[in-house]
Every structure is written in structure tokens, then in C-alpha cells.
């Protein structure tokens, strides 16, 4: 990666640090601008494009953690932000990571360490940008995931697919929120009904007993051998995203549930069938196959495009 046009915003309330770090980073080939606090930094970020933000944490008016939060929430969740502090402790580090810091560096600054961190982040950021550029040219995808009950519990499928849909397929937040909510319902049904065949009283257990029950159930080899299959199909020409979830359970009488959701989804306070009702509301098409072991939903991508233009 060429460093000639890469710009860094350096934020610190101590002028001496700003001047010396600015000079050292410029000697390494970066364009560097400076700000004295978080508020000043936000204004500059709105005015110019920066590839990396390096910010002190302890500053008047708006500190580095608040600056980080605002960048992640309102500006760019992928812009690399390195935080610096003279008081490195576990609590600070955890809070910084929780808010989305890309790296965390102790003061006094080791310039070699700082430049290494900037280079690593810029390389990662460049690769991500290239993937996003590729994703815009993507016409269709059709991928299938097979989960065993044990790795189903260990994999954060919803969050992983949220990142895939938003960052790599450039689908907008509203669309992704809705499709991921459907996915949650579909996978949850496949797991608790299709795989574990849980009864009502088990589902009503308190969390600890429920977890214990589930862990015991998936240690059974018969249950552990079952699979949950997720297929994600995106077709930009025909303008749809399709999710298919299959399990290897006993199936269910989906005609009955669909009928119920037609009759009275609204104000439905009963425990059963709410998930299917929600799915039905959020997608354009819903279809069951294989006696209810497979559910297919399809959502029109124009909804995603429409919301992009509205935002």
C-alpha cells in the first residue's frame, strides 16, 4: 500500500505531543492533521477524509472514548481508531474495545509501535475496501452452511451474517435488521423443535436449568448427529435475498400455523406460533417444504434500495 496519500487525524490536548507525533508520522510519509479534543476532531472528520484516527483518551470537552462512540455510531463503523492513554488498565482497555477501538497504545508513545499499528490497520482497511468494491460487482451468491447442534450453539450466526450482509453485500441496516430477525426465528425453530424436540415445560424453565438441559441433550449422539442447514441466496438481477433453513426433525403441521397467523396474528398473546407470524410479516414470500422441516423465505431487495435512498 502506498503511504503517500494516506491521512491521519491526531487528537490530543497536549500540544507538545501533537507536534512531536505529527512530525514523526509525517517523516513516515503520512499526511497528518491535528485536533485538540473530540469535538474539534468530529468537525474535522466531517470536513475531510481520514484513513486513521489516533486519539488520546483523557481530554477536556469530549474525551477519546466519547469520540470513538460518536465515530462508530454516527460516522463510520469501520474507520480505524487507535486510542492512547497514560493510564492503561484493564477497565479502560475493555471499555475501549467494547466501544470499537481498533488498537490501544500506552503513553509515552513508542513511535515504532504506533507506526506498525497504523500500517496493520491500513492494510486491513484496504483489503476490506477491496472486498466491498468487489461486493458491489457481485451479481449472485448461493452458499450453504451445515451446523451440528454442538457448533450451532458455539457460532454467532446472526451477528456474523449481519456483518456479511452489511459490510460485504452492502445491504442497508433496515433490510438487514428484518432479514436477520427472520433468520433468528427460523434457526431457533430448527434448533429447539426440529433438533432438540423440546417440550413446552422445558422451554419455560429458568435459564440455568434450560442451558443444563440443552447441554445434556446435545451430548446425546443421536441428537448431535442431526444437522441444521442454512442456505443464503442473493440474486441482484431478480432482486431478492432468499434464506432456507432445514432441520432433520419430525416436521410439523405448518398449515395449521399459517392458518392461525392469518386468523389472529395481531394481539396474539399465546406462546405458540408468534415466531412464524413475525417471519410472515417481515418477508415477501414464505414457503414450507418436506412436511415443515424446511422453511424458505424471500425478501425483495428493492426494499433495501428504497431505504437507502430514503436515508
Amino acid at each position: 500500500m502506498s503511504e503517500s496519500s494516506l491521512s491521519i487525524l491526531l487528537v490530543d490536548d497536549e500540544e507538545l505531543i501533537l507536534v512531536s507525533l505529527k512530525r514523526l508520522l509525517e517523516l513516515s510519509g503520512y499526511d497528518v492533521d491535528t485536533a485538540y479534543n473530540g469535538r474539534d476532531a468530529i468537525n474535522k472528520i466531517h470536513q475531510s477524509k481520514f484513513h486513521v484516527i489516533i486519539s488520546d483518551i483523557e481530554m477536556p470537552q469530549m474525551d477519546g472514548l466519547e469520540l470513538l462512540t460518536r465515530i462508530r455510531k454516527n460516522i463510520d463503523y469501520s474507520l480505524p481508531v487507535i486510542l492512547m492513554t497514560g493510564f492503561l488498565n484493564a477497565e479502560y482497555a475493555i471499555e475501549a474495545i467494547r466501544r470499537g477501538a481498533s488498537d490501544f497504545i500506552r503513553k509515552p508513545i513508542d513511535i515504532k509501535q504506533l507506526i506498525k499499528s497504523v500500517n496493520n490497520l491500513l492494510t486491513g482497511s484496504n483489503i476490506k475496501q477491496q472486498i466491498q468494491n468487489m461486493a458491489h460487482q457481485l451479481s449472485s451468491i448461493d452458499v450453504e452452511f451445515h451446523f451440528s447442534p454442538r457448533n450451532f450453539l458455539e457460532t454467532d450466526i446472526s451477528n456474523t451474517l449481519t456483518v456479511m450482509f452489511q459490510q460485504y453485500l452492502s445491504l442497508n441496516t433496515y433490510f438487514v435488521n428484518e432479514i436477520v430477525l427472520c433468520l433468528e426465528e427460523m434457526l431457533n425453530n430448527a434448533f429447539i423443535h426440529g433438533t432438540l424436540n423440546l417440550q413446552e415445560e422445558t422451554r419455560q424453565m429458568d435459564h440455568f436449568n434450560y442451558k443444563t438441559y440443552v447441554q445434556k441433550a446435545i451430548s446425546d449422539d443421536d441428537i448431535a448427529s442431526k444437522k441444521i442447514i442454512l442456505r443464503v441466496k442473493l440474486n441482484r438481477s431478480d432482486r431478492y435475498l432468499q434464506l432456507t433453513v432445514s432441520d432433520q426433525g419430525n416436521g410439523f403441521n405448518y398449515h395449521h400455523w399459517l392458518e392461525r397467523t392469518r386468523e389472529d396474528l395481531q394481539s396474539n398473546l399465546t406462546y405458540h406460533g408468534r415466531g412464524i407470524g413475525l417471519i410472515k410479516l417481515l418477508v415477501d414470500e414464505i414457503q414450507f417444504q418436506d412436511d415443515g422441516r424446511t422453511i424458505i423465505v424471500r425478501k425483495n431487495l428493492d426494499y433495501a434500495a428504497q431505504n437507502i435512498s430514503e436515508l
Binding site: S158, T173, Y174, N177, E178, V180, L181, E184, E185, N188, I192, D206, H207, Y210, L265, Q266, S267, N268, L269, Y271, R274, G275, G277, L278, L281, L282
Partner: protein, 101 residues
């Protein structure tokens, strides 16, 4: 998901960030149980930072609603994201309690 509840007089104010799904709905339920055990008669829920809520989460809220009503309790969604607003309106939860954008 992150839930913070504050109590003032007889009002509980609950702010939820993230996603309420089948995995973490029990945290939401535990927090609602604390409200039931308190002397709060109004529960204000701020869902402006809540990205979505699954049927399990809605189920927990409805179970709480039923019990809270028997104690003359009142729920209000004081703020929520457009996604949640649309969802709650579609399933007519806004007929059970106030839902504000």
C-alpha cells in the same frame, strides 16, 4: 445486549442496547422480574438503541405485560428505532401500550 434500569419514584426506566434474541432474552426477562419485584407502577422502555427484538423477546415482554397489568402497572415504549416501531405496530402491540418513535 446491554440493559440499564433506573428507578425514580414509582417509575422504572429501562434502556436497552443491541439485539434481544433467543439467546439473551433471559437477561431481559430477569430485568423485567426486578421491575415486578420493585414498587414501580410505570415502566418506560427506551428501545432507540435496540436494533431488533425476536419473538422470544416479545414473548417475555408480553408475559411481563400480563402480570404487570394485574398490578395496575403501565408500560410505555418512550423511544424506539423505526424497525422496532414498524414491528410493534404490525403486530399491534401499540394497542396494548404506547409505542413512540
Amino acid at each position: 445486549m446491554d440493559i440499564k434500569t433506573t428507578y425514580q419514584d414509582k417509575t422504572a426506566h429501562m434502556k436497552i442496547e443491541g439485539i434481544i434474541n433467543s439467546e439473551n432474552a433471559y437477561v431481559f426477562q430477569d430485568e423485567l422480574q426486578k421491575v415486578l419485584k420493585s414498587d414501580a407502577r410505570v415502566l418506560e422502555i427506551d428501545l432507540s438503541e435496540c436494533r431488533n427484538i425476536s419473538s422470544t423477546g416479545i414473548g417475555r415482554l408480553l408475559l411481563f405485560y400480563k402480570e404487570f397489568m394485574t398490578r395496575s402497572g403501565e408500560i410505555e415504549i418512550v423511544k424506539c428505532s423505526p424497525t422496532i416501531y414498524e414491528l410493534f405496530t404490525m403486530i399491534k402491540l401499540n394497542q396494548l401500550f404506547a409505542v413512540n418513535l
